[in-house]
C-alpha cells in the first residue's frame, strides 16, 4: 500500500477494505488537521479517480458526504473547495474527536478497563504532561 500525493492531499488506499470510507476518512482528516488549507480547491472527481485508480462514482459519493459535513462546498462551474470557515472545521474536528473518544471508551468498557486504569496508562505514556489543568 503506497502513499499517493494528489495536490496537498495524501492517500493510502487499501484495496482489501471498502474504498468509499477510506477516501472519505482520509480527506476528512486532511481538512481537520489543516493539511489542505481553508478555501483551497479540491482535486476534481475525475482527477482523484484517475490517480487512485477507482471508480469515479466512489469518489463522487465521498465528495457528496464531505459537502453534507459542511467541510467542502461546490461552486458552480468551478469545482469543489474546502470550506473557508475555520469554525466549521473546528466544530467538525471536535465532533470527530468526541466520536473517536466515545468509541475508545466503549472498547475499554467492553474489556472491563476502569477509568483509573486508563488514566494510569495515559500518565505512563505521557510522563511529561502535568495531567490536567485542575
Amino acid at each position: 500500500m503506497e502513499e499517493q500525493k494528489i495536490g496537498s492531499l495524501r492517500f493510502k488506499i487499501d484495496f482489501s477494505q471498502p474504498l468509499y470510507e477510506q477516501i472519505l476518512d482520509q480527506v476528512r482528516s486532511a481538512i481537520a488537521k489543516g493539511e489542505i488549507e481553508l478555501g483551497a480547491k479540491m482535486p476534481s472527481v475525475r482527477e482523484l479517480a484517475l490517480e487512485l485508480r477507482v471508480n469515479p462514482n466512489t469518489v463522487m459519493r465521498a465528495y457528496q458526504e464531505l459537502e453534507r459535513d459542511g467541510l467542502t462546498e461546490k461552486r458552480r462551474g468551478q469545482g469543489t473547495y474546502v470550506t473557508s470557515s475555520a469554525e466549521r472545521v473546528q466544530l467538525f474536528r471536535t465532533e470527530l474527536a468526541s466520536k473517536y473518544m466515545d468509541s475508545f471508551l466503549e472498547q475499554m468498557a467492553s474489556l472491563g478497563i476502569s477509568l483509573s486504569e486508563i488514566q494510569g496508562y495515559l500518565s505512563k505514556k505521557y510522563p511529561n504532561e502535568t495531567g490536567g489543568t485542575r
Binding site: F15, P18, L19, R46, A49, L52, N55, P56, N57
Partner: protein, 239 residues
C-alpha cells in the same frame, strides 16, 4: 436517469457444448448503471454469457433478458461489444476505423472517438497492421465506447496487453465514466490495477454465478479480490 429493471437477467440459463455445460442453470441479475467485473478462471462461462447477451449464441434452456428484452438485433443496437480476440481490418488507419464506426454504428460519436484517441495516445494516421496488440486493443475499445449506448460489454480487454496500453485503457475508461450513465460489463482474469473500477462483482465458476453483489460489500467481507479468489476458488489465482 431512473433505471430500476436489471440490465441483464438470467433465470436458469443453460448452454451445452456436447456434454459440457458452458452455462449451467445460471441465475443472475445485474443492476443497471454499474461497472461490473465478471470474474472467474478460464472456461467458467464468462465469454459464453457475453455471447448469449449479444445474441451470438442461443441458450438451450432458461430465460435471458437484456435491457428488459430478449437479446437480438433490437437490443444489440444499444450494446457496445468488444469480443475476446477482436481484430480490425489491418489496412485501415485508426481514423478510417472510426469513420467506419460513424457511418455504420448507431449513435457513434466521431468527435468523442477522436478525443478518446488523443487521451489514450492512439495515432489516428497509423494503420492497424503497424500497431502493437495493445495499440490495436485501444482502437477496438474506442470503437465500443464512442457510440452513446446504455450497455458496454468488454470481453477480456486486458488480455495479453502491455502495461502502458493497460494504463491508457483504464485512464480512458475512468475519464469516460465520469460523464455518462452507462453499464459496463468487463470480464477479466487480470484483476491488478482494475479492481478499484468495479462497483459490482459477479464471480463465475463452472457455468454458475457463485457470488454476485456490490464490490464494497465483497471487500468488507473477504478483503481484496486476490483474497476473494483464494476463498472462493480454493486455489492460488494464477495471473
Amino acid at each position: 436517469m431512473m433505471v430500476i429493471q436489471p440490465i441483464v437477467q438470467c433465470v436458469q440459463l443453460s448452454k451445452r457444448y456436447g456434454k459440457k455445460y458452458a452455462l449451467n442453470h445460471l441465475d443472475l441479475s445485474i443492476p443497471a448503471g454499474k461497472i461490473v467485473g465478471v470474474l472467474g478462471p478460464n472456461g467458467c462461462g464468462k465469454s459464453t454469457l457475453f455471447r448469449a447477451i449479444t445474441g451470438l449464441i442461443a441458450p438451450d434452456e432458461g430465460e435471458l433478458r437484456v435491457l428488459g428484452q430478449p437479446p437480438g438485433w433490437q437490443t444489440n443496437r444499444h450494446i457496445g461489444y468488444l469480443p475476446d480476440r477482436a481484430r480490425w481490418y489491418p489496412r485501415h488507419t485508426a481514423l478510417q476505423a472510426f469513420e467506419w464506426g460513424a457511418s455504420f454504428l448507431p449513435g457513434f460519436d466521431l468527435e468523442a472517438a477522436k478525443t478518446f484517441a488523443a487521451y489514450m495516445d492512439v495515432d489516428l494516421e497509423m494503420s492497424l497492421a503497424g500497431m502493437s496488440k495493445g495499440q490495436e486493443a485501444r482502437v477496438m475499445l474506442i470503437l465500443c465506447m464512442a457510440p452513446e449506448v446504455p450497455l458496454i460489454i468488454l470481453d477480456e480487454p486486458f488480455a495479453g496487453i502491455d502495461f502502458i496500453s493497460r494504463e491508457a485503457i483504464i485512464s480512458g475508461m475512468i475519464d469516460y465514466l465520469e460523464d455518462r450513465e452507462v453499464s459496463i460489463l468487463i470480464s477479466t482474469h487480470d484483476i491488478q490495477e482494475v479492481e478499484g473500477l468495479f462497483d459490482y462483482i459477479v464471480l463465475m465458476d463452472q457455468g454458475k454465478a457463485i457470488w454476485s453483489g456490490e464490490s464494497e460489500e465483497l471487500r468488507g467481507q473477504y478483503g481484496s479480490l486476490h483474497d476473494v479468489f483464494r476463498t472462493f476458488y480454493k486455489r492460488e489465482w494464477s495471473r
